[in-house]
């Protein structure tokens, strides 16, 4: 039985080049499905990665209670003082909490590709920035100086927005701001932002107070104690979250939407590709009628014949899946795009073709191949031997 199977398969594969036209339909059809599926899901994966890589477990973000996002939130100076006295925070040599009080606003700057204005986050940060966010590195130019209108541009933002190179000047609300440098921060969401001194931003938009406070904890385990202290304080009404949790929640809706679109389109395409595969395999079985009948006549069982057709379909679709995933990877992996993120501002991210996505794509390919191969295989196995031999 096993010998028969090997013989039947090798025979079907040897005759494959003669049926190259019909076989290529399976390969190309499935490659198309997988390429689209993997590319679209790579968008979701890239966006999720950018936000998931934002923040550290030992850093907490504090917002006014019920605000959901930094942009809506409002903390007073007194609030921030109370927060910086809470237990569990990392403290510097002078005993001061390692905490950055931040003010987030959104400004319009034209994007390079469309030329139209898009929202970008302008984040006012405290002078403790370097201690709170050690991952932040100025890669071009220098740090901004406090009390003057200077700002740093994130590396992602600099690629997507006009006029964010070192030395260029931005006109924001009746004042000129100079871009003094470009920074990276592990490819996280802050690379899509502009950073400046919090008090300078505050005076520019006439806001007294802050949006949020970002605090480094003495250790990740101190979070519970820190949160408990703040949430039980009757003077405060704040939400305390670990940074990664905050950013993960911001990516959820969009990732879900992208995955929904990707899967729906791919399911529809897969149905089309399956009909294509059925066609090709039926014509393959028809073309090999004589050969299959001969095999059956010399004593090959129905099962090896059935399996040989299925395996041919599977191998072709596997090839299609690999080609499709490779195309997606080749064209789109690392491709930088941006969209409106949860915080009402552009988030710059890269399409990421992950290993999991490649496996998903190839799995889809195999399922399409098996479905498309099964009925033709059944016909091959049931071929009436005498008639098929006579017809030839």
């Amino acid at each position: 039985m096993f010998k028969q199977l090997v013989a039947a398969i090798s025979m079907s594969l040897q005759t494959l080049p003669q049926r190259i036209g019909a076989s290529s339909v399976i390969v190309i059809g499935i490659a198309g499905v997988v390429a689209v599926l993997v590319s679209v899901l790579a968008m979701g994966a890239g966006f999720r990665h950018t936000l998931a890589d934002s923040g550290r477990a030992d850093r907490a973000i504090i917002l006014r209670g019920g605000s959901d996002a930094e942009l809506n939130s409002n903390l007073t100076r007194a609030d921030v003082d109370t927060i910086s006295n809470a237990p569990g925070l990392a403290r510097d040599s002078e005993g001061k909490a390692v905490l950055s009080s931040e003010l987030v606003t959104v400004v319009n700057i034209p994007k390079i590709d469309t030329g139209t204005d898009a929202n970008i986050t302008l984040r006012g940060v405290g002078l403790e920035l370097a201690e709170v966010r050690p991952e932040l590195k100025v890669v071009d130019g220098r740090m901004f100086h406090p009390a003057v209108r200077e700002l740093l541009a994130g590396a992602g933002a600099a690629k997507q927005f006009r006029g964010l190179t070192v030395g260029s000047v931005l006109h924001l609300r009746n004042a000129d701001w100079t871009v003094t440098g470009v920074f990276t921060s592990n490819g996280d969401v802050h690379e899509s932002e502009l950073l400046a001194d919090v008090d300078t931003v505050g005076s520019s938009i006439e806001r007294n107070g802050y949006s949020s406070a970002v605090a480094l904890l003495a250790s990740a385990a101190e979070f519970t104690r820190f949160k408990a202290a703040l949430t039980t304080d009757p003077q405060l009404k704040v939400d305390v979250q670990r940074e990664p949790e905050y950013y993960a929640a911001q990516s959820k809706a969009l990732t879900k939407a992208i995955n929904f679109v990707g899967n729906t389109v791919a399911v529809i395409m897969a149905i089309g590709a399956m009909f294509g595969a059925l066609n090709s395999m039926y014509s393959a079985v028809a073309a090999r009628g004589l050969e299959i009948a001969t095999l059956r006549a010399i004593g090959f069982g129905a099962v090896p014949v059935l399996l040989s057709v299925m395996i041919e379909a599977l191998l072709l679709s596997l090839l299609g899946g690999v080609i499709g995933a490779a195309l997606a990877w080749l064209f789109f992996n690392g491709h930088t795009v941006s969209t409106l993120g949860g915080a009402f501002a552009q988030v710059v991210f890269q399409l990421t073709v992950t290993r999991a996505l490649i496996i998903t794509g190839i799995a889809w390919a195999c399922v399409i191949g098996l479905l498309g191969g099964f009925f033709p295989a059944l016909r091959a196995a049931r071929l009436p031997v005498a008639e098929a031999l006579r017809a030839a």
């Binding site: 036209g21 019909a22 290529s24 339909v25 190309i28 059809g29 490659a31 198309g32 499905v33 390429a35 689209v36 590319s39 679209v40 968008m43 209670g65 019920g66 605000s67 959901d68 996002a69 942009l71 809506n72 409002n74 606003t105 959104v106 400004v107 319009n108 590709d113 469309t114 139209t116 204005d117 898009a118 929202n119 924001l172 609300r173 009746n174 938009i205 006439e206 009404k237 389109v265 529809i268 395409m269 149905i271 089309g272 590709a273 399956m274 009909f275 294509g276 059925l278 066609n279 090709s280 039926y282 014509s283 795009v337 941006s338 969209t339 409106l340 009402f344 552009q346």
Partner: protein, 388 residues
Amino acid sequence: MKYFPLIWASLWRKKTRTIFTLLSMVVAFLLFGVLETVDYAFAHPSGGATGADKLITTNKYSITLSLPFSDTQEIRAVPGVAEVTWISWFGAYYQESKNFVFALPVDTDSYFNLHKDEFIVSGEQMQAYRNTRSGALVNSALMKKFGWTVGDKVPLHSTIWTQKKDGSLDWTFDIVGTFDAKDPTQAGQQASTLLFHYDLFDEGRSFGKGSVGWFEERIADPSQSGAISGRIDALFANSPNETKTQPAKDFALAFMKQLGDIGFVLRAILGAVFFTLLFLTGNTMMQSVRERTPELAVLKTIGFGDGKVLGLVIGESLLLCVIAAVIGLGLSYAALPIIKLGLQGVELSPKALLPGIGAAVLLALIVGLPPALRAGRLNIVDALADKR
């Protein structure tokens, strides 16, 4: 036309193959129809609040920064401005953050005068709304979604505005009436809307009093929108709150552009679909012509010219593609209501389906031409001798 039965018969010569080819093409055209409609909708916001006679004035540097209420009088005095109203972003949800409510504090007189052709509200409920300070008018789709009825008191959570009286983010409204979109194509745009009194909002909030989120204007002559926008912005040039006025439609387009290059993504997918389809259909046509070589030779023997045989094959390809396109696009037309549910706020137009027929004809010519040329050039003697 007299050759139609012949073309029809040759199309169904191998039933299974034709059916499978047809089905996979139908699926492709279904996808084509759906994606084209979505693409069209994103590129053409139209009617209602984005009509050609509507302008929107926002803070020049950021839509999140407010403008002073006192700008109203100056804007109203601009020649060509028929009405101006002011609105703020309330950022509300009901019970859970996933239950987004597009709640807008509006000034009753100017808002309903500006958008007078957009809402259906009964006179009685409108009067009740005017008489109830904490009243709200709610879109009937939103009422249904949350199971609200007129007379209910509903709490909405604002993610931004704390109340002066207790610092709470929860605001309670009395539902006094419902409204529907006058233009059914605007139903999606309005589906999450709840309107309430600006006065209640401005007096109730703990900060930001006297500021507004944005202004909306209706102008008498849409062709003057550029000049009027310029006049409005000139009023506030060099003030701390410079403005940016643009047609509401451009504002909507710019917002959609911010989501990313949706058009590119959709076209890339369609490109992949059609490239695949080209192979599939092309292969079917090639195969079918190759199998019929002797038959075609017979046709030529009995007097069909080269051109006629070529035409027959092209006709067959055309018939296959157009049948598939009509079924596929028909299905996507039937699916429009479902897509509408998922894409609130965009208008879907069957107009977007027309290019699908064009694509079908193009596809038919591309895949039909090589086998047709082959059939046309067929040498009778060689073809008849061909035993396959």
